[in-house]
């Protein structure tokens, strides 16, 4: 399973994940506290500089990940053209772009293993309450392992459908798909028990 971490090695890859997430929270609070559109434009410019620092490839990949926001931006700007307060619309869209951009930046510069470390740290209070957090980590590993397996099985089901039906692939494949997931779960549970259980 490929994560969203950037293969372009940056200095920020080495920084502690917790610190990056803390800084992100602080930056987001500032973004939402500042209500001046000029400052928001400056923040957006600053974010673009951060994306540009590791080089061209990082910059283009990073910006491509903001593409999903365009429909929202279009709707918001159109809305505010109609209500005649375009400045407010600009403020909202600039803030949204910067906030999402900065958060993606943390994701792009933090490895999955480092993020798992943060999850483990966040589970500390749960451990104190008697919850076994290694089970959470095992469950996460199972999802990471089984998502591509299920996607493959889903693709096989879709292919089987297309081989037999003239119509496009419909919702009816979801039932056998869920049955496959349930059977996999039962088999893995049995395998875990056979190896001594949890």
């Amino acid at each position: 399973m490929i994560s969203l971490t950037s293969p372009v090695e940056t200095h920020a890859h080495g920084w502690p994940a917790g610190a990056k997430i803390g800084a992100l929270c602080a930056a987001t609070l500032v973004l939402f506290a500042v209500g001046h559109v000029g400052w928001q434009a400056v923040f957006l410019g600053g974010m673009l500089v951060l994306y540009a620092l590791p080089g061209r490839q990082f910059f283009t990949v990073g910006l491509a990940r903001l593409r999903g926001l365009w429909p929202f931006i279009a709707v918001i700007l159109l809305w505010h053209v109609v209500t005649r307060d375009l400045t407010e619309g600009m403020l909202i869209t600039l803030r949204m772009l910067t906030a999402v951009g900065l958060a993606n930046l943390v994701t792009m510069t933090t490895r999955l293993t480092d993020m798992m470390g943060v999850v483990r740290w966040l589970c500390t209070p749960l451990r104190a309450m008697g919850v076994k957090s290694d089970r959470i980590e095992l469950a996460m590993a199972l999802v990471i392992r089984f998502t591509p397996v299920l996607i493959d099985k889903g693709a096989m089901l879709a292919m089987a459908w297309r081989a037999r039906a003239a119509r496009r692939v419909g919702w009816r494949i979801v039932t056998p798909f869920a049955v496959l997931a349930i059977d996999d779960a039962e088999h893995v549970a049995e395998a875990l028990r056979a190896r001594g259980g949890l």
Binding site: M1, S3, L4, T28, R65, G68, L69, F72, V75, I76, E88, I92, M96, A99, V100, L102, A103, N104, V106, T107, M108, L112, M115, M116, V118, I136, L138, A139, M140, L142, V143, F146, T147, V149, L150, I151, G154, A155, A158, V169, G170, W171, V174, T175, F177, A178, V179, A181, I182, D183, D184, A185, E186, V188, A189, E190, L192, R193, G197, L198
Partner: protein, 181 residues
Amino acid sequence: MERSLTLIALFAALIAALGLIPKLTLAFGVPITAQSLGIMLCGTVLGAKRGGLAAMLFVALVLIGLPLLAGGRGGLGVLASPSMGFFIGFPIAAFATGFVMEQMGRFPVAWAAGIAACVGGILTLYLFGIMGMMMMLQKGPVEALLLVSAFIPGDMIKAVLAGLITAALARARPASVLSRV
């Protein structure tokens, strides 16, 4: 214990897989992403507690940077996007779906699951979705509802499908439909 854990994990993987397989097409040619159908199924099949945990696991994995949301999105940026409310609402929606499902033990599975999916997967999820839109886009509740209203008919269809699929699963694998065991 092992079974609970693997069912939770495999249903989290199912939510992801349903969002990533090519879009399904309904009878009259409308394409849908099946991710929210996955959330509904978590509740109707696994029940409140395990269904909620499966959706929570999915949310956690998206946040730590796996591209599991429909369209291959993921990472912390999801929390700053306008659809953040829907994302945060996934575990609560799955829990609510499972809770309603468990309360309707005397009804036929298909009906109970369909109604549970409406309450959890639509009412609860949209409540969070609309609150998220209000917060991120600085809009009032009516304006936010207007922005998401286009998706409601599709989700009503998904709730009906969740009912039919859960009924089929209860016939195919009765022991695994934990909301009814």
